[in-house]
């Protein structure tokens, strides 16, 4: 924007445009706080739109901004509300901005997730900017992982026996680390063996220049293998509450490190949590999740949740090289037969189903619960997962897929 105010008329325009651009900047901030990915280029484009007649009617401007700023369907559907709230002063904001920290504290099962990183509950009632001010301070309390040796000790401790916050923080960090290590190793093994199938003519000609262009030694290539995709379904019901926090942390690490991964949370219903989990800061990601986990404590409907998954999500998230990991104790309060049916349907779709049962690591535990009995015939690997060690034992298995 030019700033050469020689004529008075120009000054006035400048003044107006300063006001407008100030307001626009505030709007962009609001959008960012609502999870829109808005960059500088979009801001400039928006400014140029406002100066070129699109601002004449609110409806037109809204529609134009909607196309410009939305990047996905969820944005698309929320945009009108945010726009109206900001520019026209209608009260919609509370709903669209609910992702913050509002209700988390009084949620029983996910309380443990918070582990000492209590957000100051007072400020959430007001308005935007949940981030900058309070986050770093609370993150400080969580503490960094210091050295590997102490995590080593933790490797065989059952998660439910972790008591003091420091230990929990360490277990979380170790779980995140573990996910990262699994990633690098899995991908390297991916690349190890590859032999060509199709002829690569470009390289063949290049290689055979010394033979005068006669293709003697052939160069071949093969289509790249699809990377393994992990889909994690985590039981967040009351009976699992001692384990959810560590697994959430593990899933957060998996989503961060794997290029292809998806995560779902279920108790009485199913929630897709990949987006919430993609938050870089783990504590904040878990915070966002506590909202999604509402309703915990009312039993576990694994069958119904799987049905929802098969129906609405499976086609999108599962491809031919997918492994589904279900983390649950298998206490089904709904219809166990339905669970069996849905497991069968799921088994047809994906390459492997891994069922992690934290209780399987307990002494004297046998899979007697109705749910787990119905599900087991369709499970490829049934493993305990109550310690970090048992989690890391998964990696060689997944690497073979």
């Amino acid at each position: 924007m030019s700033c050469c105010g020689t004529t008075p008329a120009f000054d006035e325009i400048d003044e107006v445009s300063r006001l407008v651009s100030g307001k626009l900047a505030a709007f962009l901030r609001t959008l960012r706080d609502n999870g829109f990915a808005v960059g500088l280029a979009e801001g400039q484009d928006a400014a140029s739109l406002m100066t070129s007649g699109y601002a004449a009617k609110p409806g037109l401007l809204r529609s134009a901004f909607k196309h410009l700023f939305s990047a996905r369907r969820s944005d698309w559907e929320r945009f009108d509300g945010i726009f109206d709230a900001f520019w026209l002063g209608k009260r919609v904001r509370s709903r669209s901005f609910a992702l913050g920290s509002a209700k988390s504290a009084n949620n029983p099962s996910l309380k443990s997730i918070q582990d000492g990183t209590q957000q100051s509950g007072t400020q959430s009632a007001t308005d935007q900017v949940p981030s900058a001010a309070d986050a770093p301070a609370s993150r400080g309390g969580e503490g960094r992982m210091e050295g590997a040796s102490r995590a080593e000790n933790l490797a065989e401790v059952d998660f439910r026996k972790l008591a003091d916050p420091e230990q929990i923080a360490q277990a979380h960090a170790a779980a995140a680390q573990l996910a990262k290590i699994m990633r690098t190793r899995l991908t390297r093994r991916d690349l190890a063996h590859r032999r060509g199938r199709r002829l690569d003519l470009r390289r063949t000609i290049h290689h055979n220049i010394s033979h005068g262009g006669v293709p003697i030694s052939l160069v071949k290539r093969q289509r790249k293998d699809k990377p393994l995709r992990l889909i994690v379904l985590l039981d967040a019901s009351g009976s699992m509450s001692l384990y959810t926090s560590v697994f959430l942390r593990f899933i957060h690490g998996v989503l961060d490190a794997f290029r292809e991964a998806d995560a779902f949370l279920f108790h009485t219903r199913l929630a897709h949590v990949s987006d919430a989990m993609k938050e870089k800061d783990a504590a904040r990601a878990l915070d966002r999740l506590s909202l999604l986990a509402q309703g915990a404590g009312g039993g576990t409907k694994i069958g119904e949740s799987l049905q929802t998954f098969n129906r609405w999500h499976a086609a999108r998230v599962i491809h031919s090289r997918s492994a589904v990991i279900i983390v649950s104790d298998g206490y089904e309060t709904g219809d166990a037969e339905l669970l069996g049916r849905e497991m069968a349907a799921l088994a047809k779709r994906c390459r492997r189903i891994v069922w992690l049962n934290p209780m399987a690591g307990w002494e004297g535990y046998a899979p007697e619960a109705r749910g787990i009995k119905a599900a087991l015939p369709h499970v490829d690997l049934y493993a305990p997962a109550n310690t970090l060690k048992s989690l890391s034992a998964l990696e060689p298995y997944l690497a073979r897929l």
Partner: protein, 289 residues
């Protein structure tokens, strides 16, 4: 450059009944020179938007169908290796001149992306089902869409003669990268409402009367509300309408038997077929005035 009203009018003339916001999107495309990303369920007419756009601008439509494993050589350019080999054989021993010769335009095969930037008149470039292509290709595409130039090592850099109007479509079988999303304008194509769907039927199917079109649109809308595995899109509606018109149906209530028999145009999986029983269809038909 056309303004919004002219675009809406031109769209209607080309046979595409757009919702109000699409015209805005298209005018923004011109103004901001950004690609348009269309998302929506299968069969809601995403690809048709590109065709209509080509009609609006009275220009050529170049289509790149994405699939898994799509790479540069089938999207951008490829040397004609067979001809090159032949030329090498034919001009044996004349190394210098043959090299210049086989890496010239004559041996270059233009693929859709290269073709799109080398037209005198800006064409409409439709990149269909981008979600089916690999991540790597998406990244490559991003680069092309921001610079509009291509470098071919043997030939040098080819700059765009004209900047094409780019439309990308996605069925969201895979999550697209944030970078690509941010680069594009976004438009979500939803199922049309009853009135618009009726207008679409009338525009596309010869011989569909206003009352029949409305009945069909209402019926389809109710069927969409049933919990189906595969929800019928506009394409299915049009198929069904064509079938009904072809069978000389004037009013759905007078031709219940035909309605049942032709429902296969809409309901396409065994599971859904079981769900939409005769009774369900009757009930829906009863509600359609």
């Amino acid at each position: 450059m056309k303004n919004r009203e002219e675009i809406a009018e031109a769209l209607a003339k080309s046979g595409y009944i757009a919702d109000g916001e699409l015209a805005t999107a298209i005018s923004l495309m011109q103004r901001l020179r950004r690609p348009l990303l269309l998302e929506g369920e299968a069969g809601v007419g995403k690809t048709e938007v590109a065709k209509a756009l080509a009609a609006v601008h009275a220009t050529e439509l170049i289509r790149l169908q994405c699939y898994e494993g799509l790479d540069q050589s089938s999207a951008l350019y490829e040397w004609n290796y067979q001809r090159q080999l032949l030329a090498i054989q034919a001009h044996r021993g004349d190394a210098d001149s043959i090299e210049d010769q086989i890496f010239s335009e004559k041996y270059l095969l233009e693929r859709p992306l290269l073709a799109a930037i080398r037209r005198d008149e800006p064409p409409v470039l439709l990149i269909d089902e981008i979600d089916r292509a690999d991540d790597e290709f998406e990244a490559f595409l991003l680069e092309l869409l921001s610079d509009f130039q291509v470098s071919i090592p043997e030939l040098g850099t080819i700059k765009a003669i004209s900047i094409p109007h780019v439309v990308l479509t996605s069925n969201s079988t895979r999550e697209l990268s944030d970078a690509l999303r941010r680069r594009c304008l976004y438009h979500y194509v939803d199922y049309p409402d009853v009135e618009r769907e009726a207008r679409i039927i009338m525009a596309r199917i010869d011989g569909a009367s206003a009352s029949l079109s409305l009945q069909i649109a209402r019926m389809v809308e109710s069927i969409r509300k049933e919990e189906l595995r595969k929800v019928p899109g506009v394409a299915e509606t049009l198929d069904w309408a064509a079938a009904l018109v072809g069978l000389d149906v004037r009013d759905l209530h007078d031709a219940r038997e035909i309605v049942h028999e032709t429902l296969m145009c809409l309901v396409k999986t065994q599971e859904d077929k079981v769900r939409v029983t005769r009774e369900v269809a009757e009930r829906i038909l009863g509600k359609v005035a």
